[in-house]
Structure formats: C-alpha cells, structure tokens
Symmetry: C2
Subunit: 466 residues, 2 copies
C-alpha cells in the first residue's frame, strides 16, 4: 500500500533528501539477518534529533502510517521487516555520543551509535562497554531486543546495563525513563519495559548505559573436549562453583570447522570451549587454574592460551563471525538460528537432546552458545528454495524450543521474538501475553509502532477490542 | 467507611477466623515503620494460597473494596497504610519455600517468606540470598519496593535478583512473568514492571529469586575518618577503581554514637566506613589491601578487622539496627528517613551539602548509607507533637531531595515512593509519570489495588478519565 500523498509530501518538504521512496533504499531497509523474506517499507526517513523523531511520529499518527524504527538492520528475528508496510525510521545518523561520565562509569548515547563505536570512544578511559552481540549492532537496537552476547555471564545483558532511556511515545510525548543513579525505587520501571520491546511501545532516542572498568588482567583460552557433553559439564561445574568467568562459549566440532574455513584459524576441530578471564593478575591466574582442573576432570584436552591482545582479538573476532562462518558452510543457504536458554542444570539435557534431533533431521546445523548463561544457538542451514528442507528446519527449531520450555527455559535468550517466535511466546508466557498486549494497546492505541512484532495477532486484536 | 455487609459475610463464611475486623488486628495492620500517621484497614484477611488470593481479589472487585497487600509491615514510606480504607490482605502465612534449585542457584518462595527465613533454609547449600534491607522484610514486600541494602553494590537489588513472579491481576487472572532461565528476550519484561510497583498493579503470590555462591573467604573491617568528606572520597575512589567490594557503608559520628548506645558496641565515635570483602582468600586479601591504601591516602585512621563469623555478624547486626538505634537517640521521637541516591561522582557534594543543611536546620539527623551505590539516608528525628519541628524536618528532606535531583540522582534508592514522595516522583520523572499512570489504569481499571500509593492523585485521576 503506497503512503498517502499528503504524508509523503509533508516528509519530502520537511526532510528533503533525508526522505526516500527509492526501491534500492527500501530494499536495503526491508531485510535483516534473519531467514525471513524481505518486507519492504514504503518509504525511509533519516532523523537527526529527538525533535525530528517527534515530528515523524506525529505525522505517522495523523496519517495512520505504521512506523518501523531501524538501527543497524542486524536483527535475527525479522524485527525491522515492514510486514504491514509503512515508514522506516532510520536512526543510524543519530549517532552522537552525548556524554561519557568516566567517574560514574556511564555513557549517554544516541540510538544509532554502535557498540564498536562506543568502545572506540572509550579508548583511553580505562572503561569499556561489554555487551557484544555478534553484529556491530546499534545501541538502540540492542536495547530493543534486550541483547547480550559473550560477556553476559559476567556483566549482564542490556537489561542490567541500561540505566535510562529517552523515548518518543506514540502520542508524540518525549519521556525520560531513568537517571544516572545506580539504583532507584522511584515508580514503575519504564526503562525495563522498553528494554526488549522491539520498537513496539515507543521510539528510543537516547540511551544511558553502564560502563565497566577494563580489568587489570585478561586472558583467553581454548580447550578441546572429546564430546559436547563433557564440555557442557565443564561449564555447569564452573558456574556452580561461582568462578566469575567473563566468557565461556561452546562451539561444536562443526562450528569449529566453519570458523577455521571462514576466519583462517587453525583450531582443533573438536567440541571446544572458549574462555576469557578478567580480574587482577592473581585473580585471573586463580580462575584459570580452577577452570583448568574442572576441564581436565571432564576430559578436556589441554588449554591453548591467548594472552596477547592481538591473539585475544583474533579469537573473539572469529567467535563473533560464527553466524557468517556457519552460513558459508553451504553455498546459497540461509540460516534459521534458534536461541533457547535454560537453567544451567538442564543444559546438558537440552544440548544432547538437540544433538539427537539434529542427527535425526539430516540437516546441517552447527551448535554454538553462551553456555555460561544456559543460552545456545543452533544455526540450521537451509536452501530457501527447497520447501521440504525449510519445513524440516522449522520442525527442528520447534522441537528445540519445546524441549527448552519443558526444561523451564525460554524460547529466546537474546534475539527477541520478532515475527518468528510469537507462538512460542504464547507457549512460554500464557496469559501474561494478554497483559503485554494490554500495555501495547494502552501505549500505542492506533497500533502504529512496529506492528506485527512480538505479540501474536490474535492476542493483539483482543487487546485492541477491549 | 465500613465494609459492605455482603462482602464481610462472604469473607467470614469463606475464611472463618482468618478474616477479622477486630480493632487490635486492624491497628496492627494500619501502621508501618514510617513516620506517617496510622491508617487502619477496615478488615484483615490471611490467605494461604494463590487460589485464595484470587477469591479475595474477585470479592474486592465485585464489591469495589480497596485491597492492600501486606507482608511484614516494615515499609518506610507508608506503603501498607489503608489511606482509602479497604481490606488488608496479609500474606505472611503464605510462607513456604517452594523449591531451592541449588544447581541453578535460584529459589522459589511464597511472598510471606522473609529474607532471614530464606537464608536459614539455605544453610548448608553453599548459597545465600544477599539482599538485606535493615528489617527482616518479606520477599513479596521486597519485590514490591525494589528493595536493596548493604550488599547491593556487589550483588544488585531486587531488580537484578528477581527472576520471575506469579501475580494475581486485578481481574483475577493468574500470570507468571518469567521462568528460571538466567536471561530471556521473550516479550515485555513484566517481572521488572511488578518489581517496585508497591502492590498497585497486582498481588504477588510467588517469587523466584537468584541465589549466589557463599564466597570462599569473607572479611569485614571498620575504618574511622577525620570527616565525612574523607570517607566519601575513599568510597568514590574504591568504586572508580572497580574493586568488587561486597559492602561499603558510611556512618557519620552521630550514627556511630547511636549504634554504640543501642548495640553496646565500642566503635570510635568518628565518621566511619564499614567494609566487607568477598572472594577467594587471595582475592579478599588483594581487595582489602587496595582499599586500605585508598583509605590511608584519604586520612583513614586504621582498619579494625572482623574475620571471625561472630564478629562479622555483630558488626552487621549493629549496622542493620541503625534506624532503631537512631530513633532511640531522642525519647518519643519518630524518624523521617530520606533515601536519595546520586551518581558516585556527585556523592561528596550531595553529602557535604546535606551536612550543611542539617546544621542550618538545628535538627538531630544522623547520616548513614550504602555509599557504594551513591545511596544514603538521613534519619531526621522529630517529635510528632511539635508541628514546627515536623515542618522543619520536611523542609530539610525536601532540600536533600532537590539537591539529589539537581545532581542527576533519584529521590529514592530503595525505600520506594509510597505516600510521601509522590511530588518528588513527578519532579524526577515528569511526563513519564503519566505513562506510569496509564499502565496503572490499564491493569487495575477500578483503582482497587493499594490505591493512593506511588502515583500523585492528579495524575491518577487524569489517567482514569482518559
């Protein structure tokens, strides 16, 4: 459905070349890194300030046009697909670092700032921002999906690391949801309500995040295991002992193979754990020793250390490219990435069951994960033009989620619901989803903010009728 | 206003002796530990199960009777005062520990379980629950006020330590807001919406909390300083260096005097910091050494160590009794406790400004605080029958909050808004308060759940009219 003419005229007059309906632009904004089909917005506008976002939100409301906030386009669940058409609001040029408060260990940024840009700006301050999804995502997008990554086992997710937000509401009001104090009991926690709301409750125009002191010492290591189960046991025991490990990542043998091919590494092609330890020199030493003993007891076959910064960087760069490395295993394939997260005691059961399912499916599906949190991904490779393969992949994904839910887990640890996991949300949260929908209907009464995401359509319709 | 007769008849028939309108019972449930005047509920009912809570919520809705959830009665902002009359729902007999999942480091409890009861049940598991407001509060109440305490600087608050909740909604639906996975991106974060909602959005009937491994080594110490400013500088530098101190508490000289009188301790009556270090034996040693150096540079006058468990317990017991110790400084007085929290770099300014205000006011007002978080309390002592003194105390409290807000802080770090800080909530959060009120009107359309708390009446009325 094309945009109403008075609407496009108003945008063109106000934003000039920063508003576009060109097909190339719309195509670029109509797909993310998920396996879902492209869904193009009817136009794209770039905002440069909160005041401009307000104008755009107001125009969309007056003309009843859906609005899709867009950051880096790196989401994995179709979050930015314009499934109901509408206007894409590209926030990537709102990319100023507003303030770095080194003494308070926080930073205030516009939503288009990426995690790498923020860390580059922190160079020399002795501080860093730890949340690292694989992609160089925007901070606004990371807030919106409640992102995490490899450091979450020690430093938490965007839930713990977002201090406050500025948000433009559907009615054009601008609110601030929190200050810079480390804790507050002042009223309902709107910050956490917007963290993970996937652009459906408001447009985030500023983010205040926690920073962390760069540890005095850091060291990384890899360790190979005879099988995935032994590696998982090592993780479980490490966490249960309370070792404050900074990163503990599982790669199955196929993932290691993919990494070697893609990142030109020479890792041993066996199930592996990647570790990182942060702390004082003696603290790092102690942690490493404890974990080495646990690994050895579980059949771990020697630690390979990476203490020089360039070696550590190479290792984690390779880890961050696992998704692309995996997709490159098979020509012309797409990846359906699962994202379950279970209590740590159920992790072995969840992963070994998953291995059996993969074997039974006949699909190529490497396993990789932030296992210290109980979170792991299966990257199921399929050819989109082979419907029976896609069907088998979807069935495999469903089985993995069903098992995770049966084990008291969640269907998504960090990617979000988007358009692909709405039925799972219902299976996981039951009647609570209707409560979520009632909040959506209250805060976005015309259902214009990223419609079709997070909440299943039936529940949404019921909430808007109520 | 007495309760409607069919309502009391239904409760009496259903709950027998577990429903009471006796004045002694109502009086007991009509005051908390704040300085506010008693406000008695019209009746009290004790529930023993979620199903019973549903029945009670349904009865209240049918008869339009306000409902006030009640835990231990230890709130400090009038949260449980029946300012609009109604029924007090006492949850203290819902005090079962449902499950302790040692391997996953979580516990599922009914809302009436107190923090000390939970920790007693954890004895021998190697785990503990760190959140420790002074009082032996109920877990349901601690969720409701987003409580914290002395350990929050290291272990977080109830915001970080609540994994999931079971909640009875105003319409009688029972929802679960989260599972036991360490992280999840599945839908809106209802858990955090209820954490800190002070009983105004639903009745919490089950809580899943995170537990933490008991550290291998713990040691506590006290250190005296020539003045409060030097002590505060020590705190600021400790936090900025990233020392993972478990507790770092400030007591001014008057507070130490009060503690010595009340708890029969023999602490030096000077501004003091109380420390606790958790970790491996060498980790604790390292932390202690670093902090000792910082303290010495700031004029700290020697560490007194408490490493034996009974000495540590005595020290922290004394710290937890500071409120009562302070009230005991002056016969027949009440305490107005402030609770501001500021970014750590502003802490010195906030506290020295507060000292000047106290001196100018002529009031007796010891200072104590969880300064590692930037959170401190001024316990302003007043005689309720001396109106000019109460007025001066309120003016002092206002000045302290205004300064904290000007320094990018919050009016309440851990006590909540209740009935006393609603204007401050508005000053702090502006238009966001109207958004909060719209959520209240959506989830509690008859305004029966703990009405009159958190949100200023004007904002609430506007939301219900909308």
């Amino acid at each position: 459905m094309p945009l109403p003419t008075p609407f496009t005229a108003a945008l063109a007059e106000r934003f000039g070349k920063r508003f576009s309906t060109a097909e190339a632009v719309r195509t670029h904004h109509g797909h993310d890194e998920s396996h879902f089909s492209d869904a193009l917005p009817d136009g794209v506008v770039w905002a440069h300030s909160t005041a401009e976002v307000v104008e755009i939100v107001n125009l969309c409301r007056e003309h009843r046009v859906p609005l899709i906030p867009y950051g880096a386009g790196s989401s994995l669940e179709g979050h930015i697909l314009a499934v109901n058409g509408g206007l894409c609001l590209d926030l990537s040029e709102m990319n100023q670092i507003v303030a770095i408060h080194g003494e308070d260990m926080d930073a205030v940024v516009q939503p288009g700032v990426s995690r790498k840009t923020l860390n580059a700006a922190l160079h020399g301050t002795g501080l860093f921002f730890p949340i690292d999804p694989g992609a160089d995502a925007s901070l606004g997008g990371m807030v919106s999906t409640r992102a995490s990554g490899t450091n979450a086992v020690r430093y938490g997710t965007m839930r713990e690391n977002t201090l406050g937000l500025e948000v433009v509401m559907a009615d054009g009001r601008v609110i601030r949801t929190g200050g810079r104090a480390r804790k507050s009991s002042a009223g309902y926690d709107l910050t956490r309500l917007f963290v993970g709301s996937e652009g459906t409750l408001g447009v985030i125009t500023e983010v205040t995040v926690r920073l962390h002191p760069l540890p005095e010492a850091m060291s990384s290591a890899t360790c190979a295991f005879p099988d995935v189960a032994s590696a998982v046991q090592t993780v479980i025991q490490t966490i249960q002992l309370g070792v404050p490990v900074a990163r503990i990542e599982l790669l199955d043998a196929l993932t290691v193979h993919a990494v070697n091919r893609y990142s030109k590494t020479t890792l041993r092609e066996a199930p592996m754990l990647f570790f990182e330890f942060h702390g004082s020199p003696t603290g790092v030493e102690e942690q490493a020793q404890t974990v080495q003993e646990i690994a050895r007891d579980n059949g771990g076959e020697g630690f390979e250390w990476a203490t020089r910064q360039e070696d550590r960087n190479r290792l984690w760069q390779a880890r961050h490219q696992v998704l692309h490395a995996s997709i490159n295993l098979v020509p012309d394939c797409k990846a359906i990435s699962t994202d379950v997260c279970v209590p740590i005691s159920r992790l072995a059961e969840a992963i070994t069951g998953t291995q059996d399912d993969i074997a039974a499916s006949g699909l190529i599906a490497p396993i990789v994960g932030h296992v210290g949190d109980g979170n792991f991904h299966v990257v199921i490779l399929t050819h989109p033009d082979q419907p029976e393969q896609v069907e088998a992949a979807e069935a495999l994904g469903r089985r993995i989620v069903e098992r995770a839910l049966a084990l008291d887990g969640t269907c998504t640890g960090e990617h979000g619901i988007g358009i692909g996991k709405q039925d799972f949300l219902l299976a996981e949260h039951g009647d609570a989803v209707a409560v979520m929908a009632s909040l959506k209907a209250t805060l976005d009464p015309l259902n214009l903010l990223n419609p079709g995401k997070v909440l299943p359509p039936g529940v949404v319709q019921a909430a808007y009728r109520a």
